[in-house]
């Protein structure tokens, strides 16, 4: 499996020179496997640039197939969808899957396409752009070629049901938990189950360890908590993700240096970073 971060920033892509090295595109992660269609985790602004890269291959010819999974439907995890160019190309086949919260994933994505907000052609309609399928995930794992995709609910935040994902080809495993607030032991157990023996864990670290105490109820976690989950789950490598919109490159570098003494490899996710698993 090859994993590429196309966006690792939380909330809003507020561009600033002090945040240019880690990037400010909102969450989007590409998972590639030689025997499977591309899997995309979250549709933040990074999804646009990923789409442009995909257009150089089968998606530019209307022969692409992809599966996109949303961890939840806060804007920063879906706002790139209208600008994902492969959706506008007839012949491509793209499935969009989410938890749906109380509304259903399709209803939520259509809300984003309302004409007051969005001038992009409505590719959810038949005859416009790609073949687009939208599904609400049930509890069964999905099989995409040799990859199984499992999900777990990892809490809810102001009406948005949040999912974590575990993608495995049997030998190698990626775990993705981009947004979580550790409110009780049950949630801790679920996060650990997702990350159990994972080769790579991508985990929310929106707050610093010092900030977290004052952010009860704010919906996110910190590097120390991510490390705790990674250790308890025996994950091999940890990538911290969903950085606060104001966190500067220097602050992330300093925090990374502090974490360099950890017993497992830890780093802060950077836009365009690639990881090979297996």
């Amino acid at each position: 499996m090859k994993i590429t971060l196309w966006g690792a920033r939380g909330d809003v892509s507020a561009i600033h020179p002090d945040r240019s090295r880690y990037g400010v595109s909102t969450p989007c992660v590409l998972v590639e496997h030689s025997d499977a269609d591309p899997i995309i985790l979250d549709g933040g602004i990074g999804l646009h640039w990923l789409g442009n890269a995909l257009m150089a291959g089968a998606f530019g010819k209307g022969q692409g197939r992809a599966q996109l999974f949303f961890s939840h439907t806060n804007w920063c995890h879906i706002q790139g969808v209208p600008f994902f160019v492969p959706l506008l190309i007839p012949g491509n086949s793209i499935r969009l899957c989410g938890g749906g919260s109380a509304h259903g994933t399709k209803q939520l994505l259509l809300e984003q396409m309302r004409s007051t907000y969005c001038p992009v052609p409505d590719f959810f309609q038949d005859g416009i752009g790609a073949h687009v399928d939208v599904c609400d995930l049930d509890t069964e794992p999905l099989q995409i070629g040799p990859l199984s995709v499992e999900h777990q609910e990892v809490g809810a935040f102001h009406g948005a049901q949040r999912l974590g994902f575990r993608i495995s080809d049997g030998a190698n495993t990626l775990a993705y938990i981009p947004a979580i607030e550790y409110v009780d032991d049950a949630l801790q157990d679920r996060a650990e189950a997702l990350a159990r023996d994972a080769d790579l864990l991508i985990h929310d670290a929106y707050y610093t360890d010092a900030e977290l105490a004052a952010q009860k109820g704010a919906g996110h976690s910190c590097p120390a908590q991510a490390l705790q989950t990674a250790r308890r789950a025996n994950a091999k490598r940890l990538v911290l993700f969903n950085h606060h919109p104001e966190r500067t490159d220097d602050a992330l570098d300093a925090a990374a240096q502090h974490l360099a003494k950890s017993d497992l490899p830890v780093e802060f996710g950077r836009e365009k970073s690639e990881y090979s698993v297996g």
């Binding site: 892509s13 561009i15 020179p17 806060n74 804007w75 600008f83 939520l108 102001h158 919109p245």
Partner: protein, 290 residues
């Protein structure tokens, strides 16, 4: 008036080296007129601006929203003054006949899309839906709003203060063959042609003698698409000439437009404007005192 470009990019924020110099934040312009603080559009450029306004305790803020496509409002929920008690944010936008600007911005912040509902904002919020051609006075600034040729309901603005004028004409397909706005596309061919010409005349009115005309220059001429609702860099020059604007700023740059391309476009078209007209491509952080 002192004008600062806080976001100049169209469609969505661009976090990429190709846009590092001109900037990748979506539309937002800060206008300071004596003690009065105005902002045009709430793209991601409003994020840093909001923090600055809180730091300097600017308690009255007037936000003009040209239209409610994502790139012009998606910075709004992250605008720091909303979360400050004692602050007053006055919001103005061209009226949409089916939903007020308050409803549209509130919908942006509802669950499960955003964790904080707009009615929980600490600041006092005042909303005004403007009619076409409406004029209003905001402190020392006289504002005029006219409709532009762009999907949904889009307004352009003319701001006059102390004999100086800023014109904001974005987003619009000013000289294209089609009408784009809701409610414009029906009627006879003659009626539609009349409307097209009327929209052009209104844009000239907005830009007449402007000391700075900020214009939707999304396309290069060879890229132009007639079904998007955007103009070209050459359209900027044409309106500038028809309206006798003193300076023209290309604005709402396409996401893929590189810094080098913008340099080249400005260098190329500088030779094509009258000697007394200056031409620039809006760059984030760029400041002009009128």
């Amino acid at each position: 008036m002192e004008i600062t470009f806080r976001g100049v990019r169209g469609s969505f924020p661009v976090s990429s080296p190709h846009a590092a110099r001109y900037g990748g934040n979506t539309p937002c312009i800060q206008v300071e007129a004596r003690e009065t603080c105005l902002i045009i559009d709430a793209g991601t450029g409003i994020f840093e601006l909001g923090k600055e306004l809180v730091r300097r305790d600017q308690r009255d803020i007037h936000l003009l929203i040209s239209h409610t496509h994502w790139d012009h409002i998606h910075g709004f929920p992250h605008f720091a003054p909303l979360h400050q008690s004692g602050f007053r944010v006055h919001i103005y936008s061209l009226a949409h006949p089916e939903c007020s600007i308050q409803e549209i911005l509130s919908d942006q912040q509802k669950e499960p899309f955003f964790p904080m509902a707009l009615d929980r904002a600490q600041a006092e919020l005042h909303f005004t839906d403007l009619s076409e051609g409406q004029r209003l006075q905001i402190g020392p600034v006289a504002v005029q709003c006219e409709r532009l040729n762009h999907p949904s309901y889009t307004g352009g603005f003319r701001l006059e203060c102390g004999g100086k004028t800023l014109s904001y004409v974005s987003d619009t397909d000013l000289y294209g063959p089609r009408l784009h706005g809701e409610g414009m596309k029906t009627g006879s061919e003659v009626a539609r042609e009349t409307k097209r010409i009327e929209l052009q005349e209104r844009a000239v009115e907005l830009a007449r003698g402007a000391d700075l005309m900020v214009f939707d220059s999304f396309f290069l001429p060879e890229e132009y698409k007639d079904d998007w609702g955007h103009s070209t860099v050459e359209d900027a020059l044409r309106l500038g000439k028809e309206a006798d604007a003193r300076s023209i700023a290309f604005f709402h740059h396409a996401p893929g437009r590189s810094d080098e391309q913008l340099d080249e476009v400005v260098a190329h078209y500088r030779t094509k404007v009258p000697n007394n007209t200056s031409l620039l491509a809006a760059a984030e952080g760029g400041r002009m005192v009128l």
